[in-house]
Symmetry: C2
DNA sequence: ACGTATGCCGCAATCGTTTGCTTAGGTCTC
DNA sequence: GAGACCTAAGCAAACGATTGCGGCATACGT
């Protein structure tokens, strides 16, 4: 056991509180509280050196741990930030959440996460649930375009920020999805392709919109247009990718490259393409987005976004808001990861 | 807005508490508290019908929401259960956690999750952190064999349960991994293979041990032995799978089938096998475990375990423990999912 | 020697709920 | 008509920590 390890094995059925400590030391709880809370630790100037040490020693011996509920009640701060994600099963959001939680822990906060399953109504329900738990701040990973709930929150003055997806008028930490789309387009062009399809995801999200727009913009600058029937919206998962790929394959012609705005959708498409006997990258090129471990596993070209960092920056952002600072949105840089698929 | 939607837009900077309501109604806070908490809702017998209705109406109008910290302080219950997983990025654990959280929400509890990165020391640190937050119970998804911390917890009388992995002497909710291993072995044998390798994962976990043991046992019953150098331990991720596959390929002979106890490891192996030009299932059969979406995406034979259910049962289990009931470990049934890989 | 600063610490109110114990009036029973 | 029993509430003491406001020493400056 480390030197500072609290002694949990103490048999006293009575929980040890400040009062316990104070009484045992012949001090007042206020003194004990101040010393224990002083950022200077045992160097606190709230009591004499000797008293400080005795307080810390006893606290350790008796396994004292502050009752966070009593503290939160008094201070009206929970030190908790709520996080709402579409789905934790999704590698991308799980990674972002890990970044959030790591940063939160580093700042002495804790997080509570909830799945919204990417439906707007749930977003509101889950957020209110978190607010009922007195979350000091909120982080949304499931922002939809034109969702009034966020405006409502803003009006109420609740500190919150978006991650992964942005929305006009709200502070967010995202990756530059427009640039990411461009990266793929430029790579496709550089490797000699000329006709393209897009598996564009949920059109109601900024990630779908921006990645697609960036891709199309870069193509446009090179004089390439993509026919509407080759821009297919749907979900972000493998099933959506399969359906989109099948739809594209039904055209008279087949594009030379397909950009799926999400790795999972790309994997779904990949399965379909392989099943009809197409070989990548010779018959067709395929690219995904987010550089998940799957992408590496199946040798899929993708765009890497700094997910973990996005999470920790998101936490710092909402922290700034909670402290009443002015903070700006952040946009991180994506990088291209070329693999065998195209 | 629904009829029961609280009015959050109320401009009063003052938070609305029981006192606010009681004062406005000319009642005592105790009455208001009892009525609002009564499971019978407005049918409560703590006050007259008329009073009940007025209380509920005012609470709704003023957007009252109970301060959980005050309540927890008084009742010494947090209604929170802590969950410790190796890593939320892992689809398997993320899914189990979803099951846990869903059940928790249904029971009016909430959960806080922490990553241990599958290192035993972190498990202790994270668990103690959760206990400091006054978790009423704990769920571990990262149990290692012979880990003394769990015994310690048991001695302290903390309600906890394991999910996904088991450990001797501790209550757990798992899938029957031994049976799962058998399923693959029997399938391999039925499809005519005779020599096998195992990518066995972290030997310090029950999942690794039991899946491998089940596989080997079924083979043994059919007179098939697996040489030690074809049983390769390591991690559960794609990298570990790659390394293991490379090691197996270095043998003079090559097995006719490989069982990876985890889909991610299987995917890693798959990439290596494909890179050296082997075709599945003709040249070699490959099977994974857990039936993740990846398995479906790459057409990998796998074993499906009811992950979501494992999570919700885990929550119910710890709930039972918290209520002081006697509860038993549960073992769920796996099912075989045959796909093109073998 | 006297005012003042500083070190060290205590008092007591407060946060919002919960809950055991009363109370006050009414109804019912025998 | 007295005791028993409801109904519909109120009183007040917790729960454990935080914090503004003092207070009593001792030291220090002049």
């Amino acid at each position: 056991m480390g030197m500072w390890e609290r002694n949990r094995n103490v048999q006293s059925s009575e929980p040890v509180t400040l009062k316990t400590l104070a009484h045992e030391l012949g001090l007042n709880v206020s003194t004990v509280s101040r010393v224990l809370n002083d950022p200077l630790g045992p160097g606190s100037r709230w009591a004499s050196q000797k008293t400080n040490e005795k307080i810390f020693a006893l606290a350790r011996d008796k396994g004292y741990s502050r009752n966070p509920y009593a503290a939160s009640l008094r201070t009206a701060k929970s030190n908790m930030v709520g996080v709402i994600v579409p789905r934790l099963q999704d590698y991308v959001l799980a990674t972002i959440y890990e970044g959030i939680d790591e940063a939160a822990t580093a700042h002495g906060l804790f997080t509570v996460v909830a799945n919204s399953l990417d439906v707007a109504a749930n977003q509101r329900v889950k957020a209110e649930m978190l607010l009922d738990r007195r979350a000091d701040g909120l982080i949304f990973g499931d922002a939809h375009l034109n969702e009034p709930y966020l405006d409502e929150l803003k009006k109420r003055g609740t500190p919150y920020t978006l991650v992964s997806r942005s929305s006009e008028g709200h502070i967010s930490v995202t990756c530059d999805d427009h640039a990411g789309g461009r990266l793929i387009a430029e790579h496709f062009i550089a490797t000699g392709r000329g006709t393209f399809g897009v598996i564009a995801g949920d059109s109601n999200t900024s990630t779908s919109r921006d990645r697609t727009a960036g891709f199309l913009a870069a193509l446009g600058e090179n004089g390439i247009a993509v026919p509407d029937e080759w821009i297919i919206h749907g979900g972000f998962d493998a099933t959506a990718g399969q359906m989109a790929a099948k739809q594209i394959l039904q055209s008279r012609q087949i594009p030379e490259g397909i950009f799926a705005v999400n790795d999972f959708a790309a994997i779904g498409a990949l399965g379909v393409l392989q099943k009809v006997g197409m070989r990548l990258p010779d018959d067709i090129a395929l690219a995904g987005y987010n550089d998940t471990p799957l992408a590496e596993a199946v040798n899929l070209t993708s765009v890497r976004s700094p997910l973990h960092e996005m999470g920790s920056l998101g936490l710092e952002t909402v922290l700034g808001l909670m402290a009443g600072h002015d903070v700006d949105s952040r946009k991180l840089e994506p990088t291209l990861v070329v693999r065998a698929s195209g």
